[in-house]
């Protein structure tokens, strides 16, 4: 009997997994269920390029033609509401039921809500294409935008809003922007760039109160300062979407908990992408949850292989990028694994920080610079991290030593 594959969540991860099942030669039924009205699309442009034009354009990762040609059934605008594990059936919000042999949960994450009263129609979050369209309509000269949270999405939006000549204030409760996962030296480079572009950054400022009368948002900071804006965009992190899995009795541990093969406690149910936490082999099985695009792609493809019985374990090194103005930041690995840092300066003010563990192993590399100045070295660093290499700090720090030569060693 041919098996039926069902994927819940038609985002980057679910979309890639569906295509991967066909790439791998699977010929049975593949159904992709998503609650958004769109084809699977790329989210990273939503805070960046998509804001540049008059109206954001969606960047789909596939097309209706390709899905039809590959016999992938895409059910859109419908939510999966329950999993009956005993019967191997997923129940959908339109009342229908989908039988599965293997199920992939690729439900992603949603913006963390600001737990305060007073938020109204002019306080918004960015996750979906529809959110992006709504935000874009407010970005223009003369409009005041308050960004709550100095994380990646907030800062990318700040850059996009400045390019459209809006007035931008970023409010961050932590002592500096990008506290999570980004070394201070790199955060400082980004901070300076924003200030040079005319953004006001208020760091170390908690919010005491917000009022939103539908025309204007007033944000009162703990120190007494008041920020008045036409739009407040809240970007204070993301939460994995785990409700469906939790109700089905699957283990939740900062995300849907899966093993190195992306399998939950139920051998027929997998989870991948932003929604799952998994053991990261490169750091001795430390359990992490990543909110990163390449991870969603890689895990979607890996889940597809394992749904077909490959039994492969996740081995990739985390990788992330962010674009703000002409600057690109790239990070390979998790810098909090490091105990010491070696800096390598590149051309045009670009630089890379190599993070070394106590035993000298390279565990992460963070770089920033104009355009793609750091890309090659970050990619080579990623390979060194995967090899668990212990490159000499002097070699890492020296511009004249090619990283590629360290890889061969």
């Amino acid at each position: 009997m041919t098996k039926a594959m069902v994927i819940i969540g038609a985002g980057e991860c679910g979309g890639r997994a569906a295509l991967a099942l066909r790439d791998l030669g699977f010929e049975g039924p593949v159904t992709l269920v998503g609650d958004e009205p769109h084809l699977p699309y790329e989210r990273p442009p939503l805070s960046k390029e998509a804001m540049a034009g008059e109206a954001p354009a969606i960047k789909a990762i596939t097309s209706d033609e390709i899905l039809a040609e590959r016999s992938i059934r895409h059910i859109h605008s419908v939510q999966a509401v329950a999993i009956d594990r005993a019967a191997h059936v997923v129940r959908l919000s339109d009342g229908s039921a989908l039988p599965y042999d293997k199920l992939l949960l690729a439900t992603g994450s949603l913006p963390r809500k600001l737990p305060m009263p007073g938020l109204g129609a002019r306080c918004v979050y960015l996750r979906t294409f529809n959110d992006a369209k709504a935000i874009r309509a407010h970005l223009r000269a003369g409009n005041r935008v308050a960004i709550v949270g100095g994380g990646f999405i907030g800062l990318e939006l700040a850059a996009s809003a400045r390019k459209l000549s809006a007035t931008v204030t970023v409010i961050e409760a932590q002592p500096r922007i990008l506290m999570r996962g980004v070394p201070a030296e790199i955060a400082e480079t980004i901070h300076k760039q924003h200030e040079a572009e005319g953004v006001t950054i208020l760091a170390g400022q908690g919010i005491a109160a917000i009022t939103d009368d539908g025309a204007e948002v007033r944000i009162t900071l703990a120190g007494g300062l008041e920020v008045v804006a036409d739009l407040a965009i809240i970007g204070i992190g993301a939460m994995p979407v785990t409700g469906l899995a939790a109700e089905a009795g699957l283990t939740i541990d900062n995300g849907i908990a899966v093993d190195a093969e992306l399998r939950t406690g139920d051998p027929d149910i997998f989870a991948a992408g932003d929604c799952c936490s998994f053991p990261l082999a490169v750091y001795g099985g430390r359990r992490v949850r990543l909110e990163a695009w390449r991870n969603a792609q890689e895990q979607g493809a890996l889940a597809a292989r394992n749904m077909l019985g490959a039994g492969e374990t996740h081995a990739a090194v985390p990788w992330f990028w962010s674009d703000q103005y002409g600057l690109t930041l790239q990070i390979a690995g998790l810098s909090d694994e490091g105990h010491s840092v070696v800096r390598r300066d590149l051309e045009d003010g670009a630089f890379i920080l190599f993070h070394l563990a106590g035993d000298g192993r390279l565990v992460a590399a963070s770089g920033i610079g104009p355009g793609n100045a750091v890309a090659r070295d970050i990619r080579l660093a990623e390979m060194l991290i995967a090899k668990r290499a212990k490159p000499a700090p002097e070699a890492l720090g020296s511009q004249t030593v090619k990283l590629k030569s360290l890889l061969a060693a």
Binding site: A301, W321, N372, A375, R376, R379, L380, K404
Partner: protein, 120 residues
Amino acid sequence: MTGLTGAEQSNFPEEQMSDWVEACEAADIDEEDVMRFDHGGRTFAIYRSPDDEYFATDGLCSHEKVHLADGLVMDDIIECPKHNGRFNYKTGAARGAPVCVNLRTYPVKVDAGKVLIQIG
């Protein structure tokens, strides 16, 4: 070194011959590396493989029009610097997410220490 011998070159029809443009010195590109070449409002990427052959493709990634010459060459693969999309630079074939559209490739030859590409 690859490249066509004198005898083979003479077989090229005249109009095709004129399509060959000099891109750089052969020694300008390291082995297993890539260089950008702009010509006539277009941009190309020229590769030198680990076994010392030269190749050329369109210069921009088919995902978001980023210069591939800032990327990393490993064996016969060029990795885009922006999101790590991969292409076989010998054939132009896209090698998986996020890239799905192949790159166009161009004939290359080395003549008297110069790399020439036929950009028809």
